[in-house]
């Protein structure tokens, strides 16, 4: 990672104003968003949006033609181009032709994308942003840090300093007063402006209409007062039918700001008369800037389903720590990473794509149904393809990929690590676990890995068999979790096999874009796990489960290694996570937990892959309740713990505060135990609790249940 980039992260996470404002907002947002969507079937709604926007993305040319025809028939002038430079030139030419001296703008990300303001200002035209947030950052000489709330990173004190300079009067930081000042300052600008420039939230091909939404009312003035109106529109805003406007209006304000509708919505179709009786000079620019190219990319086409609500920023555990500016100058957050890679260049996304921890929170709320984490992974993959894997990582994968060597080194580490062991934790592990952040103790490598302990476990001979996929953490750090799992399955009459040749699930390589390495891990594991006939392949690590169940297949697909797909699918058909299998066994009456026990309070942490990829969240809770625990839910129970595999090593400055927030939420429940289904989360949370000295223990559900079997 680039040093300047690392520094910008450091600066952001240490900016208390920024993290305070964003943190507060992100907490309130989740609650308010849920309220705004009450009584609405969100899945159905976003399916509709994905469909209509997906259709538009595959018919961009056709819809652009149709839009042009209809808008021109109503008297608008339509200009189409792929080139941002031509957009700037066109706008300047219209300005020059009409002797335009001042311009008022309502918020438009497309104009930010082409850096329009400095261009016009250089040509001697005065440009005034009128959206309050945009005006603030214009006065501050900054760029927007958020698509919907451009000045969310600034405090009222900073704003009052800016405004005070502007009006030459010392203003207090009273927010209503500051807003009043903005109204008074901008009103004359609206009235005097020769030209209004806006973006658009929607462009309707069927009617040639553009739809503008604001809360402040500035778009109404920008489109009504000056005699010239130019609307700059990225062609991803096109939709086919007028009736579909209602669908987008239903989702956009709810997702963006948790409103049922913005204060103002204008649907403009062709010019209307000005107040002096003349007709408005209406120009609509349809800008491509690589959007068509994106549409023809089978992977990235879905990014055009974005309706620019920025909910992916609002729910991102990283964004709320670092804010927008770390991401760059225009588009920020999850979708911003993708748009930057395309509208700017792939190279520019090199550092920022690494900010994504792959927790999947954005994918859950995206009204365009875009798999943002997957697209970021694809950027990673293409970067690696273009530039290769960094040398250090390469050597790590070489080791991970060589099962015998890897396991040998882990065993060696269990001995080498000893001098540093205090109780069950050590500070540093050699190799790829080295250099871990402060604020979290790390588990000692087990003196005897699970693969060795397994040989000593006496199991009953059962007809039904399951293969256990341990994963690195259970094998080498938490073998007791594996033993607990065997105890439980045996009780249900299932004998557990441990295929010795299993190796790393490939997640570390895949999440770093090294798909070739991940594919080779997949091949080894498929061979090992399908060798013997079993009913289930069970894993107690959601990241491994996701790898076995989904990612082997998608890795092969990405690389075109289709010959492996049938066996990968066969394996996926057998793969099951721990809590789902145990729930099934309990439901079938093959397993029972001790009845009537009162085990006290417990809180549950949802692991990202389990909740959002495998869609499992109720099963472990119900099992724990059945066993006699009382669940005390923590705030943000399904927010990432900050582990993210190697993420916590690459970006400890981000991982650590995410963990601290999680620990706070756990401790606030007052429960003495926090349960979870992922050994990675156990490592992160247990380590964090150890460092804070809290009297809370972190346990895998498998351990808690093994103690409560009905004998």
């Amino acid at each position: 990672m680039d040093n300047a980039f690392k520094e910008s992260i450091q600066k952001a996470v240490n900016n208390a104003n920024l993290t305070g404002a964003l943190g507060k907002f992100s907490e309130a947002y989740k609650v308010n968003r849920a309220k705004a969507y009450e009584g609405i079937d969100f899945e159905e709604l976003r399916e509709k949006i994905a469909l209509l926007k997906g259709y538009a993305a595959s018919h961009l040319d056709e819809l652009s033609d149709q839009f042009t025809q209809n808008a021109e028939a109503c008297g608008a002038k339509v200009f189409r181009t792929n080139d941002p430079a031509k957009v700037r030139e066109y706008i300047l030419a219209v300005a020059r032709d009409n002797n335009v001296k001042t311009v008022v703008k309502s918020k438009s990300m497309a104009t930010e994308e082409i850096h329009l303001n400095p261009y016009l200002e250089k040509a001697g035209i005065e440009v005034r942003e009128t959206d309050l947030g945009e005006w603030i950052i214009q006065l501050a000489g900054q760029t927007p840090s958020h698509m919907v709330m451009p000045a969310i990173h600034m405090t009222k004190e900073e704003v009052s300093d800016l405004f005070s300079k502007e009006v030459n009067e010392r203003l207090s930081s009273d927010i209503p007063r500051l807003v009043k000042v903005a109204r008074e300052q901008l009103r004359p600008a609206f009235l005097a402006a020769d030209m209004g420039i806006s973006g658009a939230n929607i462009a309707v091909a069927e009617t040639g209409s553009i739809v503008l939404m604001t809360n402040e009312g500035n778009a109404r003035l920008v489109t009504s007062l000056p005699k010239i109106h130019i609307a700059l529109i990225g062609i991803e805003k096109l939709i086919a039918q007028y009736a579909d406007v209602a669908t987008i209006l239903k989702a956009l304000p709810r997702s963006a700001t948790a409103q049922l509708l913005t204060s103002y919505v204008s649907i403009i179709t062709g010019p209307t008369p000005n107040s002096d009786g003349s007709m408005k000079d209406l120009h609509i620019i349809l800008m491509d800037n690589r959007r068509s190219e994106m549409a023809s990319d089978p992977k990235f086409k879905q990014a055009l389903q974005c309706i620019r609500c920025a909910s992916c920023l609002n729910v991102c555990p990283i964004f709320r720590l670092v804010g927008g500016h770390v991401f760059g100058k225009v588009y920020t957050g999850g979708i911003g990473t993708i748009l930057t890679a395309w509208f700017d260049e792939l190279k520019k996304s090199e550092d920022i794509q690494g900010l994504c921890i792959q927790c999947g929170a954005c994918k859950d709320v995206c009204p365009g149904k875009i798999d943002i984490p997957d697209l970021i992974m694809e950027i990673r993959r293409r970067l690696v393809q273009e530039q290769g894997v960094p040398l250090l990582q390469k050597s790590i994968y070489a080791v991970v990929n060589n099962r015998k060597l890897f396991h040998g080194m882990l065993r060696a580490a269990s001995i080498a690590g000893k001098p540093f062991t205090s109780g069950k934790f050590i500070r540093h592990l050699p190799l790829f676990l080295a250099d871990l952040t402060d604020g979290r103790s790390l588990p000692a490598i087990a003196a005897e890995p699970f693969r060795d302990r397994f040989k000593k476990i006496r199991q009953p001979e059962c007809e039904e068999k399951a293969a256990f996929y341990a994963g690195c953490l259970i094998d080498f750090a938490y073998p007791e979790m594996g033993e607990a799992l065997i105890k439980i399955l045996n009780k249900a009459g299932i004998q557990v096999l441990f295929p010795e040749d299993q190796t790393c699930c490939g997640a570390p390589a895949r999440y770093n874009g090294a798909y070739e390495v991940a594919a080779s891990n997949a091949v080894d594991n498929i061979n090992a796990l399908l060798r013997e006939e079993v009913t289930y392949v069970i894993s107690a690590c959601p990241t491994c489960t996701v790898a076995l169940d989904h990612e082997f297949i998608s890795t092969f697909e990405s690389l075109g290694q289709t010959e492996w797909l049938p066996r990968a699918r066969k394996l996926a058909g057998k793969v099951i996570d721990f809590s789902t299998l145990v729930t099934k066994l309990v439901d079938e009456g093959r397993l029972s937990l001790k009845e009537g026990r009162v085990l006290g309070k417990i809180t549950y942490h949802d692991s990202c892959h389990l909740k959002r990829t495998l869609k499992v969240s109720e099963q472990p809770r119900n099992l724990l309740k059945k066993a006699g625990f009382e669940i005390e839910e923590m705030f943000e129970c399904d927010t990432c713990c900050g582990m993210g595999g190697s993420y916590s090593m690459k970006l400890p400055e981000i991982s650590a505060p995410i963990l601290q927030r999680k620990l706070r939420n756990i401790m606030e429940t007052g429960a003495p135990v926090v349960a979870m289904d992922c050994p990675g989360c156990v490592m992160q949370i247990r380590g964090g609790l150890d460092q804070t000295g809290a009297a809370v223990t972190a346990r895998h559900t498998v351990e808690l249940l093994a103690d409560q079997l009905d004998l």
Partner: protein, 183 residues
């Protein structure tokens, strides 16, 4: 039912909602409201009333005698008006939204520049939701469709909700039952 829903939604976004059976009662309320708020024939105190079906059949001259009430709309006048009055044809119950064909600039001037916007709405213009509206109001007939949901607002400074930025800081909605409506 749908009126009640509209009222709840609109009040939820800080609009003020009133309802009268007769035009007469509505007019009476309007005058008392203007008076209470200090309407006068002076800058920042007068009211502009844009062309609306509501005025039809009312003796214009008697209205023009009211100090500070004007029927001529220019952008200069609108700039210094405190009150803007017009008629919005439709109301969406599920979001508390008012809708109008705003192709005539005067309609936009009185609803965006003054600090108080008074909207007269025929009660029969209440529709359940947006899809119903879009089914009735087509861009072919209306070049500028305007929707208004509550007063102008922002949360751009520290996410603190503040009412009244570039548009009105009060939206007063007056439903009239006996107005035919929904064009």
């Amino acid at each position: 039912m749908s009126y009640e829903q509209f009222k709840t939604r609109a009040e939820g976004v800080s609009a003020e909602v009133h309802r009268f059976v007769t035009k007469e009662a509505a007019l009476d309320f309007l005058f008392r409201f203007l008076q209470k708020e200090g309407v006068a024939d002076a800058p920042q105190a007068y009211a502009l009333w844009a062309d609306s079906p509501f005025i039809e059949g009312i003796d214009r001259e008697s209205l023009e005698n009211i100090a500070g009430l004007k029927f001529e709309i220019t952008r200069e006048l609108a700039t210094n008006a405190r009150f803007g009055i017009n008629q919005m044809e439709w109301a969406l119950a599920d979001t508390g939204t008012l809708v109008q064909d705003s192709s005539a600039i005067e309609q936009r001037l009185v609803s965006s520049l003054p600090s108080i916007h008074i909207a007269i709405v025929p009660t029969s213009g209440i529709l359940p939701d947006m899809p119903t509206l879009l089914g009735m109001l087509h861009p072919k007939e209306s070049a500028y469709i305007a929707m208004i949901t509550g007063p102008s607002r922002t949360a751009d400074i520290e996410r603190v909700l503040t009412i009244g930025v570039h548009g009105p800081d009060r939206l007063v909605i007056v439903f009239v039952d006996e107005l035919g409506g929904g064009k």
